[in-house]
C-alpha cells in the first residue's frame, strides 16, 4: 500500500483529496459524512457576511448523452449565520482531528474585519484558511471575489490583511478569469500566502433556451454570468497550474482544482505540480462515494510503479510543459499517421477529417476498407487519430530527422551567421 498522506503547507491530510469549497461543504453534516466516507480534507463553503441567494442557481451542458460535462453556478457564499458555521467547523474538527479542515473566507476589504475573522477561525481549531479571490459572480460585483484576484495589488493587500493576523497556513484561491494567472499568484505570495489553489470557476453564460429565448438558467426571466466548472475546464486548470509551478518565483505548494472526476485526472494534476487536489462537480454529480475510486485508483497506480509516497510524483511532468519555442520543429522531428488496416472498421471519419479539416493526405483505395495515409504529405497533426473511434487503430509514428532544432535554436543559429 502506497502512503497517500500529505503535508500541504503544514496542513496534514490522510490523502490528497479535498472537497472544494462549495455546496458540498456547506454544513457540518456534509463534511462529517464526507470524512466518514474517506475524503482527506474539505474546504468549508466560503464564510462571510451571510448572503441571500436566488433560485435557480445551477445549469449544465451535456454532451453525447453524458450529463454535466460542464456546470455553471450563480450561488453565492454561505447564506448561513457566521456563528453556526464556526460552531460546526469546531465540532467537525473535534470529531476528525486528523482530517484537514480549511475555511474559505471572503470579507470586505477592511483590515480590522479580517483580523477579527481570522482570529475567530483559528479558534475553531481549523487547519488552514483559503482566501476566496475567485468567485466571478455576485460577490465580484460587491468588490469581493474575483475582483480581488484579477488585480495583483488588491490580492497582495487583502492577503496581507489575513496573513498578518493568522497563525494558520493561508491558501489563496485564484481566479482563472485573467490573461495570465502568474502575476496575481505571485502578488498573493508577496502578501504572505503560504500556498495557492487554482482554478476557481470561469465566467460563463450557460446557454439560451431557443424556444423561449430565455437565458439558462433564468430567474423569472433574467439570467446572469456564472462560474463554470466540471470536466470541461480541466485543460484550462492544468495549463494555469503548470504555468505557476514552472515559475521560479513561485515557491509555495499548489493545490489543483478544476474538472477532477477520476483518479487519473488527479494524477495529471499531481504530475503537473499539485501537492493536493480539490474536487467539487464530480462529487456534486455522484456523491461523496466517489472517494473510494479516487483513493483506490491512486493507490493502485502508485503500487504498480513501486512508488511509496504520493508526493514523489508531484511535479514530475511539469518541466516538460513549457514554451512553444522550445519544441522541435517539424523538419527536425515529425509524426506520421499509420492506419492499422487490420483494426480499421471502415467509418472513413479519418478520411473526411483530414480531407476537410487537415492536410488532404489520406486516400481511399477502391475495394479496400481501410484508407491509406500518403506519408509524404502527412504533417503529423494527430486529427485522424483523434477522430478514429477505434483505440490505437491510427498510430502516430515518430520520424527522426538528421537535425535537432527548435525555433529558439533556429533563431540563434540564424543570428549567429549574420
Amino acid at each position: 500500500m502506497a502512503d497517500l498522506s500529505i503535508d500541504f503547507a503544514g496542513i496534514k491530510s490522510p490523502n490528497p483529496f479535498w472537497l472544494a469549497s462549495g455546496p458540498l461543504t456547506n454544513t457540518g453534516y456534509q463534511v462529517s459524512k464526507a470524512f466518514d466516507e474517506g475524503w482527506g480534507g474539505a474546504v468549508w463553503k466560503t464564510i462571510g457576511d451571510p448572503v441571500i441567494n436566488v433560485s435557480a442557481r445551477l445549469a449544465s451542458i451535456d454532451y453525447g448523452g453524458r450529463r454535466m460535462m460542464g456546470l455553471n453556478n450563480i450561488e453565492l457564499i454561505s447564506d448561513r449565520p457566521l456563528d453556526d458555521n464556526l460552531r460546526e467547523i469546531a465540532e467537525v474538527k473535534r470529531r476528525f482531528p486528523h482530517h484537514a479542515v480549511i475555511v474559505s473566507m471572503m470579507f470586505e476589504s477592511n483590515p480590522q474585519i479580517w483580523a477579527e475573522m481570522v482570529k475567530r477561525v483559528q479558534d475553531t481549531g481549523a487547519d488552514g484558511i483559503e482566501l476566496n479571490f475567485g468567485c466571478p459572480h455576485g460577490m465580484s460585483e460587491r468588490g469581493m471575489g474575483s475582483i480581488i484576484g484579477q488585480v495583483p495589488e488588491y490580492a497582495q493587500t487583502i492577503t496581507r490583511y489575513a496573513a498578518d493576523g493568522s497563525s494558520l497556513p493561508v491558501i489563496v484561491k485564484l481566479t482563472p478569469n485573467v490573461t495570465d494567472v502568474r502575476p496575481p499568484g505571485k502578488a498573493a505570495i508577496q502578501g504572505g500566502a503560504d500556498a495557492l489553489s487554482l482554478i476557481n470557476t470561469i465566467n460563463s453564460v450557460m446557454g439560451v433556451d431557443i424556444d423561449s429565448w430565455m437565458p439558462i438558467p433564468q430567474i423569472d426571466g433574467r439570467g446572469s454570468h456564472g462560474g463554470y466548472c466540471g470536466p470541461a475546464v480541466k485543460p484550462i486548470a492544468l495549463h494555469m497550474l503548470s504555468s505557476l509551478y514552472n515559475d521560479r518565483a513561485v515557491r509555495v505548494p499548489l493545490c489543483g482544482i478544476g474538472g477532477i472526476e477520476t483518479w487519473r485526472d488527479a494524477v495529471e494534476f499531481l504530475l503537473l505540480g499539485a501537492g493536493a487536489v480539490q474536487v467539487c462537480t464530480a462529487a456534486m454529480h455522484y456523491g461523496f462515494r466517489i472517494i473510494n475510486d479516487l483513493t483506490q485508483g491512486l493507490n493502485d497506480y502508485l503500487d504498480q510503479r513501486g512508488i511509496a509516497q504520493v508526493n514523489q510524483i508531484v511535479g514530475k511532468a511539469a518541466m516538460r510543459v513549457g514554451d512553444w519555442n522550445d519544441l522541435r520543429l517539424s523538419y527536425s522531428y515529425q509524426l506520421v499517421a499509420n492506419i492499422h488496416a487490420d483494426q480499421c472498421i471502415g467509418c472513413n471519419l479519418c478520411y473526411v477529417a483530414c480531407e476537410d479539416g487537415a492536410h488532404q493526405c489520406i486516400d481511399r483505395i477502391p475495394g479496400q476498407k481501410a484508407p491509406v495515409v500518403r506519408e509524404a504529405d502527412c504533417v503529423g497533426c494527430n486529427l485522424c487519430s483523434l477522430v478514429c473511434p477505434v483505440p490505437d487503430c491510427i498510430e502516430m509514428v515518430p520520424v527522426e530527422h538528421a537535425v535537432s532544432e527548435t525555433w529558439r535554436q533556429r533563431q540563434e543559429r540564424l543570428t549567429s551567421f549574420s
Binding site: 453525447g64 448523452g65 472498421i345 471502415g346 467509418c347 472513413n348 471519419l349 478520411y351 473526411v352 481511399r364 473511434p389 477505434v390
Partner: protein, 449 residues
Amino acid sequence: MAIVLNQDHRFEEVVPPFEPSEAMDEALRCYYCYDAPCIKACPTGINIPVFIRQIANHDVKAAARTIMDANILGATCARICPTEALCEGGCVRKEDSRPVSIGRLQRVAMDHAMTSDYLPLPDIGVHGQGRVAVVGAGPAGLGAATALTRMGYVVEVFEEKPEGGGLDTYGIVSYREPLSVSLWEVDLVHKLGTTFHFGTRIGRDIEWEGLRAQFDAVIIAVGLGRVPKMGILGEDLAGVWDALDLVEATKTMALDDIDIGRQVAVIGAGNTAVDAATCAKRLGAEEVTIVYRRDQTAMSAYQYEYEFAKQDGVSYKWWTVPVQVLGNHRVQGLRCARTQVVAGADKNSREADLQLLPGSEFVLPVDTVIRAIGQTKPSALWDEIGAETRNHRVVVDDETFSTSLSGVYAIGDCLGRGGEATVVAAVADGKKVAWAVHQQLTRTNERSV
C-alpha cells in the same frame, strides 16, 4: 370497400417501439460514418447517418423527412426489412461492438411522422411533364408513383384490390406490421398528388390498349400471384389454405370468424410459411407443424423468423413431404413421406435432388393444411399484353426495366427474379424505373418540340 382494421390483442405488434431514452442512447452509438456502408447496403440509399444524427439532435421530424425522401415506405421498411442483411449488416459498429439498431431508430422517426402533420418532402430537383400509369399499388408501384409524382408527372395508379399497399397491406402479419402503417403510407402517396383507382383490374375494368393510349408510359408492378397448388390428392378439401389467403383473412376479418382448427400443418419453409404458422398459433391452433422436404440449413426463412416461430411453439418436421391430404369433406390428416438427397448430393443445398424413402409414409393427424410453397408468376398477363417472355418471365432491360413493348415497363416481384424479394428492393425498383421513364419522356418531349 375499406378494410376493417384488426386491433385484436393476439395480433399486436411484437417488437415494441424504443422508449425515447433508448432511442437517444442508440442514436448516440452511431459514428456518423463518412460515405457510410449502411447507406450503400440500403437498396433505397436512405441517408442513415444523417437521420440518426437528427434523432440524436431531437429533430425527429427532420429524421422522418430524410427517410421518406429516399424511401416513401420507410415506416414499413423500419419493421420488416431484413436489416441484419442490409443496413445493420453494413454498420461498422458490428466490428467493435454490435450494429446500431437502424431499423428500430427508423421506426422512431416514422412513428413520429405518422402521428404528426403531413410533412412536405424536399424538391427532388428533377422536373418532367407527362402522364404515367402504374399498374399495382404495392411497394414497387408506390415507389415508382412517388418518384414520378415528385418529378411533376401526372401519375395514376390502378389497383385490383380495394386498398393499396400490396403485400404490406394484405400479406404481412399484423404483429410484424400493423395494417394502419401500410394504409398511412398509401395515403401519404395520395397526399403527394398521386391518383389511385382501387378495385380496378386491367383487362376487366379497363382496356389494356386504352391504358397505353391514354398514358405516355405504363409501369407494371402487379407482384406475384397466389400460392400454387401442391399437385397432390385431396388438396381441394375444406381446411386447406393458401397461406396468403390466411394472412389476408387475419387482416380483413374478425379473428374469431377464422376456423383454423386444432392441429395445423404448414407446407414450406420460407418466411410466408413461418408467418402462416405463427398466425395459426395466435388464432388458437394447439399444434402447428412446419413440414419441409429439406432441413433447417436449406430453409429460406430468415433466422430470426425461424427463432420467432420456435418461440411461438411451432414445431418443425424436416425431410418430409406431403403426398396426400386425407378426409371426406374436410381435412382429417396429411399423409407424408420422408425424403433424402440422392446419393452424392449436398444435403445442405436447396438445389440438391431429393428422393422419397421407400416405406416411410406416415399420417400427420391434422385438420388444417396451409400451403406456403412460393407464389405463382403472372405469366398469363405477359401473354395477354404481348410482352416478350423467357421461361415465363417478362424480359426487361437491366437498367431501365423497359419491356419489349414501347413505353411499357415492369418492376418489382412480378419480374420473378427469384432470390430475396423485399419491400425495400421493390421501392428501389420504383425509383430506378421513375428515372428511366423520366429520361425517356424527356427525350420524346425534346423530339416533339
